[in-house]
């Protein structure tokens, strides 16, 4: 280390060197401008003031509060409240508009769909999936096949009252008999029925088994599923002719369904969710692509 005596003055600039050199390169000890020093003191003063006014020092379970009483949580609450206040007229308009009249007001419908999208994420994805595509036993809400009806009003009703919600009279309810378990049909008969169902849905060619099944169908199933198997929405009896299967369309699954029946349950959301949220959910589900009964509107955005 160089001591003070070795520090020399650089002649062209008249500035003292730092006293060290590398391969002939020396560093000048150029003085800082004094205003810089004052600016530095000012930042320290700013820091002290900031620490007094705002939360600063971490303690064990919280931080010092600051004299202004500001906190990020309170600010968030304020912003949320402001957002709620901004949404209030929209919610009021939604509350006043019957669900089937929403499509007449595209802006309101759009707002309802967006609100429903958010509510769906919170309440419905556990069974119906995040994209509402469902899974075995949980209906896909994107398609055009509806057990209990696919117009806005029917969807709103289903959400409000649920399906097979115990102790709720207004719930969507029906019960298919367990033909095999309860001994109403023999195993071969169930096999024949399955062959018939697969024939009317175009999955296999007619044969002796499906012909026998057709007769059984007329006796046991047609009252709910219709003579042709087209289903009946009043009792939530699925259309058996289409390409959509809630539990599966292969022979084995159909036989299992006939033998043991199915009992899909959706809770009633009326009471748990407010009517506006349910309305928004209905609008969202309706908008997924299979919604029925809406007047065709050609919308342009913005």
């Amino acid at each position: 280390m160089a001591d003070d005596k070795q520090k020399r003055i650089d002649q062209p600039t008249g500035t003292e060197t730092m006293g060290h050199e590398w391969d002939g390169i020396e560093e000048l000890n150029t003085p800082l401008p004094r205003w810089w020093l004052w600016a530095f003191y000012a930042t320290i003063a700013w820091g002290v003031v900031y620490m007094v006014l705002f939360p600063a020092w971490p303690l064990i379970d919280r931080a010092t509060g600051g004299t202004l009483g500001w906190s990020s949580r309170a600010q968030l609450e304020q912003e949320l409240a402001a957002e709620q206040a901004k949404k209030a007229p929209l919610l009021k308009a939604l509350a006043a508009t019957p669900v089937e009249q929403l499509p007449a007001n595209p802006a309101l419908m759009q707002a309802a769909v967006e609100g429903g999208r958010a509510a769906f994420r919170v309440n419905c994805v556990a069974c119906h999936g995040s994209g509402a595509a469902g899974s075995k036993g949980y209906p896909n809400l994107n398609d055009d096949d509806w057990l209990w009806g696919g117009d806005l009003k029917a969807i709103e009703y289903t959400i409000t009252h649920g399906t097979r919600q115990p102790d709720h009279d207004a719930t969507r309810f029906s019960q298919m008999p367990a033909f095999g378990r309860d001994g109403m049909l023999k195993a071969e008969e169930i096999g024949d029925l399955a062959a018939h169902v697969r024939t009317i849905s175009g999955q296999q060619k007619p044969g002796a088994a499906s012909q026998r099944g057709g007769a059984l169908f007329a006796q046991n199933c047609a009252s709910c599923h219709g003579a042709g198997g087209e289903g009946n929405r009043a009792v939530g009896a699925p259309n058996l002719k289409d390409a959509i299967w809630l539990y599966g369309g292969d022979s084995e699954t159909i036989q299992a369904t006939i033998a043991n029946s199915r009992y899909g349950v959706m809770p009633k959301w009326g009471g748990r969710l407010d009517p506006v949220t349910i309305k928004m959910l209905a609008a969202y589900v309706h908008s997924l692509g299979g919604g029925e009964g809406a007047a065709p509107v050609q919308t342009a955005s913005r």
């Binding site: 003085p31 800082l32 499509p103 175009g202 692509g289 050609q298 913005r302």
Partner: protein
């Protein structure tokens, strides 16, 4: 590293240097007049630009130059820049950067000396200062004088004027970001956005501090550009330089010296070059970082040389090579030859190439743009009759300042039909018609259905065609997926 010339006996200086006050003297001359002209032009551009109007029709603002931050548009006369076209702005910034290199390699620190806002505003403040407090000597006397009523009055008048200029500077800035007449009215009525008042307050404070108080300290200590320029200057760069071989040895009282038969240089050590310098340096010490090449010392020295009957240009714009040539008694190279050399030409080529590329891109750009994004959750939906449905979000950018109708079409998708969200399958067709608001992005959710097929993935094309006489179309690739 001790050597005999070391001045080791000198006491070390303080770690902090006081600002030496600078009282530049008024001067007249050709460079001073050039500076007046440039100051007038730059200040006029700055203050007038936001008030220029430009008719864009009913759906777009009529301000010629407008940076609409909230609407994310940048308007410049006939050009409108969208956020996705930000590369034009980036290109302008690159051009500005290369332009600085070009100017530096051609004419040295001309930006610092004439056009830099710090220089222009400092110059303006110094004129006001001279106007209120008097010229250099009066200012120095006033600084030392005790605080009398007259001194107080002068200081109050000076700083009030500074504040007014600063407020006008900050006040003009905000008009670039909103409709100027409306904002001016709102601003004066107290109805403008809080951010407008905040911006004006901040810019007033910075203008006052940087232009009114700190001045040359900004150039010497804060600005990185002098450092970069110092590295960019070479022996062919124009700088303001003192011709020491002609001026030295300098002396006052030439008469006495001539009588004593001493050989003296042209410099009479009158200190005028130091007196007029706005950064307070002595150019006779050689080129230095504090010299912004404003050339006022050239004006001052030329005047003195004329008085003592010596040729002008003891202090002059010259390159190092010129200096060497002149010292050896050779003629100077012509200025044009100094400026036109490979380095400047390369910078100019790069600068101009970017400019032409941007102009070309600007001329070629389309005002219709379509993009399509497949909805991935769920990717496909099987319908009850076995057909398969995919959903897409199709975006059409209408970059014209009027509403336009477009037809969205499907190509290369066998049996494919589509409908808009809110419609129904009964309305499905090969085309859908949509309207997009002026100067906006239209976002449409579209359902596409095709009959069942073997292919898991079908590549196809979405097209958008404008349905008005001007026309214009665009297309984008998309993929249809099946179970």
């Amino acid at each position: 590293m001790a050597s005999p010339s070391d001045l080791t006996s000198v006491k070390p200086k303080s770690l902090y240097a006081r600002r030496e006050p600078v009282y530049p003297k008024a001067v007249d001359g050709r460079f001073r007049r050039l500076k007046w002209l440039i100051m007038a032009v730059t200040l006029t551009i700055y203050y007038v630009t936001p008030w220029l109007r430009w008719d864009r029709g009913a759906y777009a603002p009529d301000q010629a130059v407008l940076i609409d931050l909230a609407g994310r548009r940048f308007y410049m006369f006939g050009i409108e820049i969208w956020p996705h076209e930000f590369y034009y702005v980036a290109g302008l910034l690159i051009m500005a950067g290369i332009g600085l290199f070009l100017v530096t390699s051609a004419v040295g620190r001309a930006w610092c000396g004439y056009a830099c806002p710090q220089t222009v505003w400092t110059d303006l403040f110094q004129h006001v200062e001279r106007w209120i407090e008097g010229d250099r000597n009066a200012q120095m006397k006033l600084a030392k004088a005790p605080w009398t009523a007259s001194k107080l009055a002068k200081r109050v008048a000076k700083y009030a004027s500074f504040l007014a200029i600063s407020a006008a500077t900050g006040g003009a800035w905000i008009f670039y970001f909103a409709d100027a007449p409306t904002l001016a009215r709102d601003f004066l009525a107290g109805d403008a956005a809080i951010v407008a008042y905040g911006t004006v307050a901040v810019l007033t404070a910075t203008t006052f501090t940087l232009g009114g108080l700190l001045r040359e300290q900004v150039c010497i200590y804060m600005c990185p550009w002098p450092r970069i320029q110092t590295a960019m200057l070479d022996e062919k760069s124009l700088i303001v330089t003192y011709k020491d071989w002609r001026g030295e040895p300098r002396a006052r009282g030439t008469k006495k010296a001539t009588l004593a038969d001493l050989k003296l240089g042209d410099c009479i050590d009158c200190n005028q070059c130091v007196a007029v310098c706005p950064t307070g340096i002595d150019i006779r010490n050689g080129p230095q970082v504090g010299c912004i090449t404003c050339a006022l010392c050239i004006d001052a020295c030329d005047k003195v040389m004329a008085q003592v009957g010596r040729p002008r240009g003891l202090i002059d714009y010259a390159t190092f090579e010129d200096c060497e040539a002149e010292k050896a008694g050779e003629p100077r190279r012509p200025l044009l030859k100094t400026i036109l050399r490979p380095r400047t030409l390369i910078y100019f080529t790069a600068w101009a190439a970017i400019g032409f590329a941007m102009l070309f891109a600007l001329g070629e750009r389309t005002r219709v743009d379509i993009s399509a994004q497949q909805q991935r959750n769920p990717v496909y939906v099987r319908l009850s009759d076995g057909q398969v449905r995919n959903a897409f979000t199709v975006k059409i950018r209408n970059m014209q300042a009027r509403p336009r109708a477009f037809e969205i079409g499907l190509e290369d998708l066998a049996g494919g039909r589509m409908w808009l969200e809110g419609g129904s399958r009964e309305t499905a067709a090969k085309h859908v018609a949509v309207r997009v608001a002026p100067d906006a992005l239209g976002k449409f959710r579209i359902f596409v259905i095709v009959p069942p097929g073997e292919e898991q993935r079908d590549e196809f094309v979405f097209t958008a065609r404008a349905l008005d006489p001007e026309g214009g179309s665009d297309s984008t690739k998309a993929v249809f997926e099946r179970p």
